[in-house]
């Protein structure tokens, strides 16, 4: 892979340089990569590679941990069980209950670990890119959740009942009923998948921009007296990396909690 495929910013420019090339500020272009290879019009780029690597990491880890599980667990199995239990008990049982939720555990466990690992690439050296900051990846997963809970709504309540469930139809609202139904429909059916996607996407996008900002600045300032500024900037890189580590886990958690809540709402009696 060339530098252009991996980094997406100009590396040979420094402050106080004779060339006066200016600060290569990060922006939308930082989220576009040169294809690693192309088949016809299909371009395989770095985010795709990292997405597939996430699959390898998640499946590989759980394969190693759970392929031959033992009654008395080894270290790896214990870690896997802790992670599995965190999602199963901490998220699914909490919002859906043990009996109702058991069916959706695999989906939500897959979602959590997939999102988390995709986020995690942001601070892994060389990778250093959160896959979820390309909106297609969170959108795909949010779409799966959307299809799941929409299907469940109509399966559980029938067509009319499902519509009532989604729109929060309630006769006691009286005159404001049409408005309430309209707002609820707009909010739940149209906006919800979008916010579900964008909440994750925007957090990772912004986090990556911040990291890029200070990382590029550290590099750009590394000349003459700028070294002092570069030091400050680099401290920010360290701090933000730690912060990102936290945000990545939180966003994965939020994404899955919301998915569980949507499913719960679809299964619940409308009120």
């Amino acid at each position: 892979m060339s530098a252009d495929q991996v980094l997406a910013f100009e590396t040979d420019c420094h402050i106080f340089d004779s060339s006066h090339c200016g600060f290569p500020s990060p922006g939308l272009h930082s989220f576009v990569f040169e294809p690693i290879f192309s088949i016809g019009s299909f371009d395989f780029n770095k985010p795709m590679l990292l997405a597939l690597l996430s699959t390898v990491v998640v499946v590989g880890f759980f394969w190693a941990a759970f392929n031959r599980p033992k009654l008395v667990p080894g270290k790896l199995q214990m870690i896997g069980e802790a992670g599995y239990d965190f999602v199963r008990r901490g998220i699914v049982y909490e919002s859906l209950g043990k009996k109702q939720g058991e069916k959706y555990v695999p989906l939500l466990v897959s979602l959590f670990f997939m999102v988390w690992i995709m986020n995690l690439w942001s601070i892994v050296p060389v990778a250093q890119f959160p896959v979820t900051s390309i909106i297609a990846f969170p959108a795909g997963m949010a779409a799966i959740v959307y299809v799941t809970w929409m299907t469940l709504t109509f399966k559980t309540h029938g067509f009319v009942g499902g519509l009532k469930n989604i729109t929060g139809y309630d006769k006691s609202l009286g005159a404001v009923l049409p408005m309430a139904v309209g707002i609820e429909f707009f909010s739940n059916v149209l906006v919800r998948p979008f916010t579900h996607t964008v909440r994750l996407f925007a957090n990772m996008f912004a986090g990556h921009l911040l990291l890029l900002m200070f990382t590029i600045a550290s590099w750009y300032l590394l000349n003459d007296v700028g070294i002092a500024y570069a030091g400050v900037s680099f401290v920010m890189v360290i701090v933000l990396t730690a912060f990102e580590l936290f945000i990545q886990a939180v966003q994965a958690y939020v994404f899955v909690v919301l998915a569980a809540n949507y499913i719960q709402g679809a299964l619940a009696e409308h009120h």
Binding site: M48, L52, R68, P69, L71, I135, I144
Partner: protein, 181 residues
Amino acid sequence: MNPLVQLAAEEAENPLIPPIPELIIGLIAFAIVFIFLAKKLLPNINKVLDERREAIEGGMEKAEATQAEAQQTLEQYREQLSEARHEAARLRQEAQEQGAALIAEMRAEGQRQREDIVTAGHAQIAADRKAAAQALRQDVGKLATDLAGKLVGESLEDTARQSRTIDRFLDELEEKAEATR
């Protein structure tokens, strides 16, 4: 502007519009994870987790059962022990009573035997004395008659007279003896 940024600016339009190839790759990546976890790996671990829970619960149940059994055995043991104690006390009491009765019986028996012996001795003595007196009387009578015959020189053949005479004589002797006593 460097060429890369220009290139990027051309491609990066709206970051909120998902590019289709990425969408497909993302879905494939997720589907693979989901299939592996849902079909194989999570059922695997669920089975083991259930087994483990059963093993723990089974072990606890077993321990409880063992404890209950031990408690029961202990109760039984104590009951038996107290029973045995009662039995022993009862036996001791009985033995004491029996011993006392035996001793009393033996004593009564001894008493009775002694009395028997004494009575028998008395009877024997009385009989002996009577026989001796009888024999003595006859002997004395014979001796007396013999002596009298020799003295008188004639045989007193009439035994009836003889014995009457002797008896009378002896009675007189006895009366004398009584009188002197």
